[in-house]
């Protein structure tokens, strides 16, 4: 078991790549930097594949496979090891992170080729891979938190990658601050876990949580509080209402970063964390309801904003928020497997959408406004066709990966609550609409850019090949679930079942798969909603392109509300940011800092200087006067001594 014994090698390789490029790469040519960055991720991917192969041949008693490498913290009864763990959930995450990450690294060598920050970019990107792998492989909450914070740091660094642009720096700061709020909740959750279970190891905490009596419905017990605090962390990292505001701004980063960090991997960490802690959540019904409602609300809310965005990457950002909402909806109704399934297919198609959007931006010279695109289909065919695949997948067209995962989620939601299901279906329609709107505005119709100035060109091969690979995955990525429709088994969920469900539950779930579902799914509400969205988009943006303007004019109030993103940013600015700034400026700065802190420090300095000024006249340079002082001192001390002895 070579790789399973040395699991640390998987995260370590990207860290090495980051360190080598970051420390020594200063004068290296681009080729060498590329070689270092790519070989580290390639090797990491291969190591992950080998680890998974070895893992699958383990007997069930050895699972979860946990390896502790050294004791990291040991204080009184608290102990945290640097320990890595592998179970089936880890396998899925590991393959998604290393696989998609590897493809995006390849893509980046083309996309970032002419950027002066080439080396910086790749060392950050490698560093991100390291932290993400630590997050995924960690065997206790504390190590997971290290990865969690590390990916946040890399996200900050890469959002602000073009640091000369004020908006990019601001966006990076915003992401960091908003995530602090979530992480605060996460830390509190960890403290409470430690207080309740006396450990942070998954192997200790989760079975005990599963064994505890569930908090009664409608009541808030310890488990509910833990679950809610963890979920606060997840809302920050995974951009859910009310902490989603950082993700749209994060689009200031280079497009491969948006694809890797802000679509495929990092933002899904919250979903992974919730799924990992499912034992806690399942015993906390109130928390589950909160997760489901927040997820559903986010899905719908973000989708409506996405309808009217004009920046190609902003549409995708809101779409990502919306899809993450779906995943939380799945977790909230207890279908953790479906959530992780959607996480995986989403990583494929949303990663592809971002990369294809990057290819479009690359092709027309940095323009991101869809109103200035159009008619690109013939000029960049590879980008167009791959993007088509991804759009069909996210819209839930039958047979594509998104169809299976979304259908699964909505199916589970229907069992839980018809309202959540209805909103989910509505969101599916909206998703289909804004995605086809994006596709039509970008690729169809007459060109709206200056054809003399902009020379449209297809991207180089190192960018198109990852697109094609991801397109294949976007199409086929969901086929593991296909047999379910014909009365068979959902292989993906069955694969995850040992981790995510108890035996009785999984048996019960499998028995529900009946024949005739294929027809039901094909003519089911989500597919119809997607079709309606598609037709609407076709009508508005292809057959009569003048209509959208008329609609916008007729419904100017709702339109303004949507294009202003419900003015949530402005609301937060007025309610939270402004009072904070006022307090910091007027009280903390001018009173506390200048008055109290500066005052006391300056006061001490003032006293020393004044007294020194007075005393310096005693320093005459005359040896005899010094001698007199010495004698005087000796007399004083001697008499003092004598007086004390007596």
């Amino acid at each position: 078991m070579p790789v399973l014994e040395y699991l640390w090698i998987i995260p370590l390789l990207p860290l090495l790549g980051a360190a080598v490029n970051g420390i020594f790469g200063g004068r290296w040519p681009k080729k060498t930097i590329t070689a270092v960055a790519l070989s580290s991720t390639t090797l990491s991917f291969l190591a992950a594949l080998e680890a998974v192969r070895e893992f699958l041949s383990l007997s069930s008693t050895e699972i979860p496979w946990t390896k502790s490498y050294f004791t990291w913290i040991s204080a009184a009864n608290f102990r945290a090891d640097f320990a890595l763990q592998m179970d089936r959930l880890t396998v899925v995450m590991l393959l998604v992170v290393t696989g998609v990450g590897w493809l995006i690294h390849i893509y980046s060598t083309g996309y970032m080729h002419d950027d002066p920050g080439y080396r910086r970019f790749f060392s950050y990107l490698n560093l991100f891979m390291f932290f993400m792998l630590v997050l995924v492989l960690a065997a206790n909450y504390l190590l997971m938190f290290v990865g969690w914070e590390g990916v946040g740091l890399c996200s900050y660094l890469l959002i602000g990658f073009f640091f000369l642009k004020q908006s990019a720096t601001n966006a990076g700061n915003k992401a960091f601050w908003v995530n602090r709020i979530g992480d605060f909740g996460f830390i509190l959750g960890l403290l409470l876990i430690f207080r309740t279970f006396g450990s942070l190891d998954f192997a200790t905490v989760l079975p005990r949580a599963a064994g505890m009596a569930a908090d009664p419905a409608g009541q808030v017990g310890t488990l509910t509080v833990i679950a809610l605090l963890l979920f606060v962390g997840a809302t920050g990292k995974s951009a859910q209402v009310p902490l989603y505001i950082w993700l749209p701004d994060a689009m200031e980063g280079p497009t491969p970063v948006s694809a890797l960090i802000h679509a495929a991997t990092m933002v899904t960490a919250g979903v992974y964390m919730v799924a990992r802690s499912h034992a806690i959540f399942l015993n906390a019904p109130v928390a589950m309801q909160v997760v489901a409602v927040i997820g559903c609300a986010t899905a719908l809310f973000a989708a409506t904003i996405g309808l009217v965005q004009t920046d190609i990457k902003k549409v995708l950002a809101y779409s990502t928020i919306s899809q993450l909402g779906y995943m939380f909806l799945a977790c909230g109704v207890g279908a953790f497997g479906a959530g992780i399934f959607h996480l995986m297919t989403h990583a494929f198609f949303k990663g592809l959408l971002f990369l294809a959007a990057g290819s479009v931006i690359h092709a027309i010279g940095g323009e991101q406004d869809m109103r200035k695109m159009g008619g690109l289909r013939k000029k960049i065919p590879v980008t167009f066709w791959t993007m088509c695949m991804a759009t069909l997948a996210i819209a839930g067209a039958p047979g594509f990966s998104g169809f299976f995962s979304k259908d699964e989620i909505l199916n589970e939601a229907q069992h839980a609550s018809p309202v959540l299901w209805g909103l989910g279906v509505l969101t599916a329609g909206l998703t289909s609409f804004y995605m086809f709107r994006l596709l039509f505005l970008t690729f169809l119709g007459a060109p709206r850019y200056d054809e003399h100035k902009v020379h449209v060109h297809e991207s180089p091969r190192n960018m198109t090949v990852p697109l094609i690979v991801l397109a294949v995955l976007s199409v086929c990525g969901g086929w593991m679930a296909a047999p379910q429709l014909m009365g068979g088994v959902n292989y993906f969920e069955r694969f995850l079942a040992p981790v995510l469900t108890t035996g009785a539950e999984s048996a019960a779930r499998e028995s529900t798969g009946g024949g005739g579902q294929i027809l039901q799914a094909l003519i089911g509400a989500p597919v119809i909603a997607g079709l309606v969205g598609f037709l609407l988009a076709w009508w508005l943006y292809v057959s009569s392109p003048e209509t959208p303007k008329k609609i916008a004019a007729a419904l100017s109030a709702p339109y303004k509300l949507l294009s202003g993103k419900y003015f949530i940013d402005e609301l937060y600015a007025a309610v939270i940011v402004k009072p904070l700034v006022w307090l910091s400026d007027r009280v903390l700065w001018h009173v506390v800092d200048e008055g109290v802190i500066d005052g006391s420090v300056n006061g001490i300095a003032h006293i020393s200087r004044e007294s020194g000024d007075r005393l310096r006249h005693a320093n005459t340079g005359n040896v005899r006067s010094y001698a007199t002082w010495i004698v005087f001192g000796v007399l004083v001390f001697t008499s003092l001594l004598l007086w004390m002895v007596e």
């Binding site: 340079g621 005359n622 004698v631």
Partner: protein
């Protein structure tokens, strides 16, 4: 037998004379001799106590002090000669460059 206090008083008087001379004399060589006087006053006190207590340490100390004083006077006199050469004076009042 002479009482111990006599020796100690003599030692104190010699020491006091040394201090007074050290402070009030202007010639560096005199100041220097005042230091030697103080050292020897201390030596006397050491020897006295050595005899009273019947222990040898006091006398050993005295030998140390004499050795160190010899070395010190060698260095000190060299310094005095250099001061005379460089400044053309042996007046302590005029040697006040420590304040700079």
């Amino acid at each position: 037998m002479v009482p111990t206090s006599y020796y100690l008083v003599l030692s104190a008087v010699l020491f006091g004379l040394g201090v007074v001379a050290f402070i009030f004399k202007r010639n560096i060589i005199t100041v220097f001799m005042a230091i030697e006087l103080m050292l020897n006053a201390v030596n006397l006190a050491f020897v006295t106590f050595s005899r009273v207590l019947g222990e040898l340490q006091g006398q050993v100390f005295v030998f140390f002090v004499i050795v160190v004083a010899a070395a010190e006077s060698a260095v000190g006199l060299a310094i005095v000669i250099l001061i005379q050469r460089n400044r053309g004076t042996l007046n302590v009042e005029r040697v006040d460059s420590l304040k700079d």
